[in-house]
């Protein structure tokens, strides 16, 4: 009985040690994509908001952003604004490409995430969860800062 107990202790110690070692070494990246400067432009009256960020791809292969979903918004889309024949217009994008070891900017007046039907009250200063899906099967789960309507970036 004593031996079983001591081997149990040894076993537990080993597990603890293994856990600790893992915590001390940097874990390998879970996905090849990352975002910088992620922010959402808040609008009043539950109007559609827009999400912006620089999305980096550190992988050796080009990837495509194929979709976005959120626990905070009921409906999300990839969009692009452009000027066409003297008019401001938006089109829905099926995908947005990011080159290998490159980046794409989602920025006002261009590519952006269209965020509709907020599931709860969202206001400037809040954080929202937006997950980006890529065609390599990877999903990037990230937290985006909600900024006032007249903000020009994540921390202006």
């Amino acid at each position: 009985m004593k031996r079983i107990f001591s081997s149990f202790v040894a076993c537990a110690a080993l597990v603890l040690y293994a856990t600790n070692t893992q915590a001390l070494t940097l874990p390998p990246p879970l996905v090849h994509e990352s975002i910088e400067r992620g922010w959402v432009r808040w609008l009043p009256a539950n109007l559609p908001a827009a999400g912006y960020a620089t999305i980096r791809n550190d992988g050796d292969k080009a990837v495509k952003l194929t979709g976005v979903d959120s626990t905070d918004y009921g409906m999300t889309m990839l969009h692009r604004s452009m000027q066409k024949d003297g008019k401001d217009t938006m089109e829905m994008m099926g995908e947005i490409g990011i080159p290998a070891h490159g980046q794409v900017k989602l920025a006002p007046g261009g590519y952006h995430l269209m965020l509709m039907n907020p599931k709860h009250s969202i206001k400037p200063g809040d954080s929202v969860h937006l997950s980006l899906h890529f065609n390599n099967g990877e999903t990037l789960y990230a937290i985006w800062l909600v900024r006032p309507a007249n903000a020009t970036g994540p921390n202006d």
Partner: protein, 202 residues
């Protein structure tokens, strides 16, 4: 010593040259498009975001910046209204001479209440204008500001493509300059200041 004696004459010559240059009739170096005489004076009868009737006469005596858009526009309209807010900040005390008007091209959804919340979120000095579909269509046509409702989205919502023009009128309501949502805060602020100065020289 002799070159010092000549100095006053040089100063006089320089002053004369500068004055001559200032009196010349070279067009001001606008960064936006000069549309003087090419677009009608500011003219409309619409509903303000406070729910009351508003007409162009209410804004005579102010420089007016007018932009067409709609509240379900999450990207370009906020970008433009945000820019116009920064222009007002840039103008400092002169901002009191300027009125920004945001004309809805989506009157079906843009009630005065929604419009009020939307424009106020960018700058409390912005006035939102809406009206009947016919009023808005006539207003847009007057300024050649085309707009059209795009195909419905999966949830039944829709976007509206609309003129990207930023129309600038002087204090007498005359159309003077035309920019677009792609113009920088610097360019718009520069031209507004120039317009204010050139008018005060008239």
């Amino acid at each position: 010593m002799s070159h010092l004696k000549r100095l006053p004459r040089l100063v006089v010559l320089c002053t004369v040259l500068v004055l001559l240059a200032a009196c010349g009739h070279a067009p001001p170096p606008w960064q936006l498009n000069d549309v003087r005489g090419h677009l009608p004076d500011l003219q409309f009868n619409l509903t303000s975001d406070n729910g009351k009737p508003a007409s162009a006469a209410d804004f005579r005596g102010k420089y007016v910046l007018m932009y067409f858009g709609y509240t379900n526009c999450p990207d370009v309209c906020p970008l433009t209204l945000g820019h116009l807010h920064l222009v007002m900040q840039r103008l400092g005390a002169d901002a009191g001479k300027v009125q920004i008007l945001f004309v809805s091209v989506d009157p079906a959804r843009d009630t005065p209440q929604v419009l009020h919340q939307y424009v106020s979120a960018f700058d409390p000095r912005i006035v939102g204008l809406t009206g009947t579909s016919a009023q808005i269509a006539a207003m847009a046509k007057n300024y050649r500001a085309a707009f059209n409702r795009d195909a419905a989205q999966p949830d039944g919502g829709y976007q509206v493509s609309h003129s990207s023009g930023i129309y600038i009128f002087d204090m007498q309501g005359r159309a003077r300059l035309l920019g677009t949502s792609a113009d920088s805060v610097d360019a718009i602020a520069h031209d507004l200041k120039l317009l204010m100065h050139s008018d005060s020289d008239d």
